[in-house]
């Protein structure tokens, strides 16, 4: 079947999509957006977290056909579309050294982005709760916490919810 949707503000289309295929597969293999990572395929790890109509979801658990005519925003869509500059959350992860092997990073970036959009000044408990569905098997969680706190401070200093 054919599936057409908006990805990072751009209309995209995929043909010959198998009916049981996931959004994650379509993103990575059919429309050239491999930023979202494929690890557990069962919603456990959060590495494939993307926005679907503004709500963070595991792309591996969304059937491709369900995104017809809808809006998807992936980690690639967090950077400035014109300049390509990374966003506040991404910069904070770089500055805090919150990246080891990097496989979990795209999901953490999207989930953190969503957290700060909703609550620019989350407490540590809120951060842990928000990221409870994102696994880092390098277990670098302390640096990730640092990165979210740093992003939060920068977002708050800017006085706007733009992460």
């Amino acid at each position: 079947m054919r599936v057409a949707f908006t990805a990072n503000g751009r209309p995209v289309e995929a043909d010959d999509v198998w009916e049981g295929e996931s959004l994650l597969y379509v993103l990575r293999e059919r429309v050239g957006l491999p930023g979202s990572k494929n690890a557990c395929e069962q919603g456990e790890c959060g590495s494939c977290t993307v926005y679907l109509d503004g709500v963070p979801v595991c792309a591996c658990l969304v059937a491709a056909g369900q995104v017809q005519d809808r809006e998807v925003r992936t980690v690639e869509g967090l950077a400035d579309p014109v300049s390509g500059d990374v966003g506040v959350v991404q910069q904070a992860f770089l500055d805090a050294g919150a990246v080891q092997c990097g496989f979990c990073t795209p999901g953490l970036l999207v989930q953190t982005h969503a957290l700060l959009a909703r609550d620019p000044r989350p407490g540590d408990t809120d951060i842990r709760e928000a990221l409870s569905g994102n696994l880092c098997r390098c277990t670098g969680y302390e640096k990730i916490m640092d990165a979210v706190r740093l992003a939060s401070a920068r977002v708050s200093a800017q006085g706007r919810g733009q992460a």
Partner: protein, 296 residues
Amino acid sequence: MEFLRPAGWDEALAAKAECPTALPISGGTDVMVEINFDVHRPAALLDLNRVTELAEWTIEDGVVRLGAAVPYARIIEELSGPLPGLALAAHTVGSPQIRNRGTVGGNLGAASPAGDSHPPLLAAGRDVAVEVASRARGTRLIPIDDFYLGVKRNALAPDELIRRVHVPVADGPQQFSKIGTRNAMVIAVAAFGLALHPRNRTVGTGIGSAAPTPRRAVEAEEYLRGVLEEQRLWESGAPLGSEVVQRFGELVRAAAAPIDDVRGTADYRRHTLSVMARRTLTWCWNDYGKQIRSAA
């Protein structure tokens, strides 16, 4: 495989009538796992995301009519007041991403004994009912006590879809407790839901992950109802004797029929149920006592 995309409820029922083996998919948090791992290859997927009425809820005559596809995140945000037990259980489902997609309709459709929605639905009372419909026979209400038939089997006919679930607005304290290896991303080793119903002076329970189906602890409910009545505790809100709490825990434990599996042993499940029953009863009764005293 086919992918069916009805634009509304009537179209969805028509699609299900024409293709009864079609597997409904809403949040996909169960269905897609099975497809990704090739556990299940249905003839068709019936996507319910465009059936917007399934994602709505209303309160009429003291009963919440919860659309089958209202995600857990919205239950937590919007229904913690009228449905405290279900909202607590919803909070323990998966992770934020899963709660943004997963639904009570999905839990009911899958009918896994480990579904987190089941204990609070049972505890909410015998008036809880699942509203299902088919094109051929229209709508019917299945009482929650008749809904779960076996491991991953429910009372739905092949041509039926779950429309909503009817749950009375809470009239007393409700609690939910769940055992797992961490606070997030846990499929229950065992779970327990408790609700006090001061209006009709009954007690509701629900056991999860410790029998072939979710089930209530009938003798525990009856025992506590009797004690509260005889000792006039509904009126006084006085503390429960420790022997009452202990006995309640034993009866809940005795109502379970668990198995050994990868998540835990039958013995451990029984033990956790007696602990969860005692804890949730203590929490609920403390809350009730406070309500009585503040009203006095």
